[in-house]
Symmetry: C2
Subunit: 507 residues, 2 copies
């Protein structure tokens, strides 16, 4: 553990549970460790809550986090679209982040302090995350379902470290249908307690195991310092919950899910996350082990981007979730839970964005290609728009997400900046001369200026589709490569490795 | 209006907004009608709340609804699977409904009274509804997004009829992060108020219109009489919200969405709903017009299965949602909202189920075909399971949702009953003789006994796939036809038409 050299391929990042590291780990055998620190240092297990520096020691990191949080509630400079530029990252990373969110219309502030409205463009990124993970969850044997969001307050108190970790940040319903309620209801901050209440009714024998479910839902944590996507009072997530007959199976499941998150981060989001295990103090309130993926952001801070918990028998003992094993003995089930939230959208913004704005990996971009027609005369306009319509159709048919910006309110130059700020991976420019030559100009978002442009790309359908698909793949791997170099440079063991090792245990 | 002959094709059910009926309607011009009755008679606009009889007069309907509600909170007879039979519908329709929900593991009661856990099989039906509608919403220009669920109490009070309709059934958060809140927060019962708060910030000129969004979300209404899927304290739904420059556009949108719901009900759910307009007293609290689809259930009661509201300028005036029109004048936007909820799952159960249990239309069935292998000796077993595996692969490759039940705990006879109870449209039986003959037996869920069986269906892949696909289509149309005859028989104008006309205005 704590190896300083980081693997760069996601596939080699995780060891199977049968590897010596896990087998020899003493903590894995502790069934109910005292997790008294589980609730400290920010809310645990939120699929990402702590904003910590990978590059400084603990004290400096705390100072940096406080400084970052300071600007967190400031209003974005504009709530109604793009005004031509965003604050440079080097001037104020947090201001840049909020500017990008406002200008690209990713999210807005809700009327209740700390809440966020996820606007269509931001939500489409979340949908891309959902679409990919939902398939993976089902492929690995999980079923979606839905648990109620109102949890009797007494449930939260049943698992000692859980109540300690979560009680400071609960929202409570005390009035329903005009009447004071006899028992306060917790608006779910996470669902382990209600899940176990139901599992106890559904699980009878070993034949009912493993029980593997997931829900896509909203959750509420009363956070004092909020920041769009990264930390909000209400957020969206998926939470997986499983019950198994043995510790080994639960451990394997917890690792499988952090592996799925790791692969998603690498292959779809182009973020070279570092999977590892949380220190005791940052372990989820109620878990024996918390696995995490940590992502390097543009401000050199780490973002917890997803977590997977081996819950041991903590909740099954608290809720009496037992099964009859093959020998007729009653046993407590072994459990896991795992989550990724809308915080991941914030991670994508901060991992790839630059001073021109958002930069989206093609595989999760709601729009992969924007076509900007350029004309001066009415004559030119007709020919250009004709060509643009046919290019749009060709790309759409090939399964490429394409948008045409033919509005007449704005100049082509303004549109170039605008769609760059929105992070669209590729732009196709079509002017009168291109129509004559039956060719177009293709510009990459990730390489500014002339080096990122392909001139004279043929309009011939199959060759255009080939070109665009190849370029999108180039951008996808280039973003991953760039983020990986950035991460590795900062995590040079001679400089920063030691600090990281204090935070998580690497595989 | 009030025509007694009902069209049987969904395509002809809706008139365009330019038809005389709509143009001549005086109510459409009333901008803020007094909707004092809007909150009476059950919660309005929930994508279905009132349980009313199509076949009796108002007083009798109320008595019937009360009787139905009486058994609503009784626990299902078993929460852990199938015990061999369900209460016959003729004995007690409500008991039958609850038995089916428990036996088919569609849902369970949550720990808080009136809440429901949607189990994987029930949730998969909801996912089928989502998958279809989500595509239709996007095709018609709507974007998904997400609004926070906590709404300042003062928002609810801004639209007079809205507060009157909803205030009796609100859940209120009064404590957050351990502190009493200065302003109580409403857990959304619907989102018109918060949507308008945001629309007011986003809409500036006519160029920002139409603004057309949708969210998939949970909502809370503090209901006293609950029933799984049909009426629960928390439920899942989609709520569409749009803003337009003119009344005509808003009306067109409201009609378009009820048309999409109607088509979904007919073509996917095989439910011949009747679209129409709600009477004044049942119009959504805050709307000028509420369009509805009403479905006939097996107990001869009507279920409101989806609604679409023309909100006029009620909310835009209350929240100051204005735009600058092409002449530079400030105008209030015209709005719609529309919803379908998990109640629709209850509608599917009650529209098609019989005394053997659930009966699912193939297009929304999570499992379309179950394969039951039959063997006695170990020798037979190997051959049968081999054949079954290859059939499963063939059907799966053809895009058919197939499940094999090869468990050894249960007899084939038990499995037949079990999967019939779960409503699987088709069963394939494979025994040793079938393996020898390279053929299988295919049984339809909707036609009991021998008439529903095809013997000697060839195992040859393409012919088997053809057979299965054809049979699934047969079942789909047969369910719609059966439901349509049932509805039309009950709605014979000589007997019941007059009562129906008191409830909704037909197109």
């Amino acid at each position: 553990m704590g190896a300083l050299r980081l693997p760069s391929s996601p596939l080699s990042l995780l060891l199977s549970p049968s590897t010596p590291i896990l087998r020899s780990s003493p903590t894995l055998r502790l069934l109910r460790p005292s997790l008294s620190g589980g609730g400290g240092g920010g809310a645990p297990g939120r699929g990402g809550v702590s904003a910590r520096s990978l590059t400084k020691d603990a004290a400096a990191a705390a100072a940096a986090a406080a400084a970052a949080a300071e600007g967190a509630d400031r209003k974005p400079s504009s709530s109604s679209g793009y005004e031509g530029s965003v604050t440079p990252r080097s001037v104020d990373f947090n201001a840049w982040y909020l500017d990008v969110i406002a200008s690209a219309e990713l999210a807005d502030y809700g009327p209740v302090r700390g809440t966020m409205v996820i606007r269509p463009y931001g939500y489409a990124i979340w949908e891309a995350i959902q679409d990919f993970l939902n398939v993976k969850f089902k492929e690995t044997g999980h079923s979606n379902m839905y648990f109620p969001q109102f949890i009797p307050y007494s449930f939260i108190e049943k698992e000692a470290s859980h109540v300690e970790g979560f009680s400071p940040e609960l929202a409570l319903v005390t009035i329903g249908g005009g009447k004071e309620l006899e028992e306060k209801l917790v608006v779910r901050p996470t669902s382990e307690t209600i899940v176990n209440h139901m599992f106890t009714q559904w699980i009878h024998s070993y034949r009912d195991l493993p029980l593997m479910v997931n829900q896509w839902a909203n959750v509420t944590r009363w956070e004092m310092r909020t920041k769009p996507f990264v930390r909000t009072l209400e957020f969206l997530w998926q939470e997986g919950h499983t019950a198994h007959a043995t510790l080994e199976e639960a451990e394997e499941e917890a690792l499988q899910m952090i592996d799925i998150y790791t692969n998603f981060a690498y292959e779809q989001a182009a973020i070279p996350v570092i999977p590892g295990r949380k220190s005791r103090v940052e372990t989820f309130a109620g878990a024996n082990r918390t696995y995490t993926i940590e992502a390097m952001m543009g401000d050199r801070k780490a973002l917890q981007a997803g977590t997977s918990h081996n819950l041991g028998q903590n909740f099954s003992r608290a809720f009496g979730t037992q099964f009859t094993d093959e020998n007729g003995q009653r046993q407590y089930v072994w459990q896991t839970s795992w989550a990724i939230s809308t915080r991941f959208v914030g991670g994508i913004i901060m991992a790839h964005g630059d001073d021109a704005g958002l930069m989206l990996p093609p595989r999760i971009a709601p729009i992969q290609v924007v076509i900007v027609p350029i004309w001066k005369t009415a004559d030119e306009k007709a020919g250009v728009l004709d060509a643009v319509a046919s290019i749009q159709q060709v790309l759409k048919t090939a399964g490429i997400k394409v948008k045409v910006d033919d509005s007449e309110q704005r100049t082509p130059g303004w549109k170039f900046n605008f769609w760059e700020m929105k992070g669209i991976p590729l732009r196709i420019e079509v002017g009168p001369r291109d129509v004559t030559n039956r060719s177009v100009v293709v510009s990459r978002r990730d390489i500014p200026g002339k080096p990122g442009k392909d001139f004279g790309v043929s309009m011939e359908p199959s060759s255009l589709v080939d070109h665009v698909k190849r370029r999108l793949e180039d951008i996808q791997s280039s973003l991953l490569q760039r983020a990986t170099s950035f991460r590795d440079r900062l995590m040079n063991p001679a400089r920063e490795g030691a600090a990281l090792c204090n935070k998580i245990f690497l595989f």
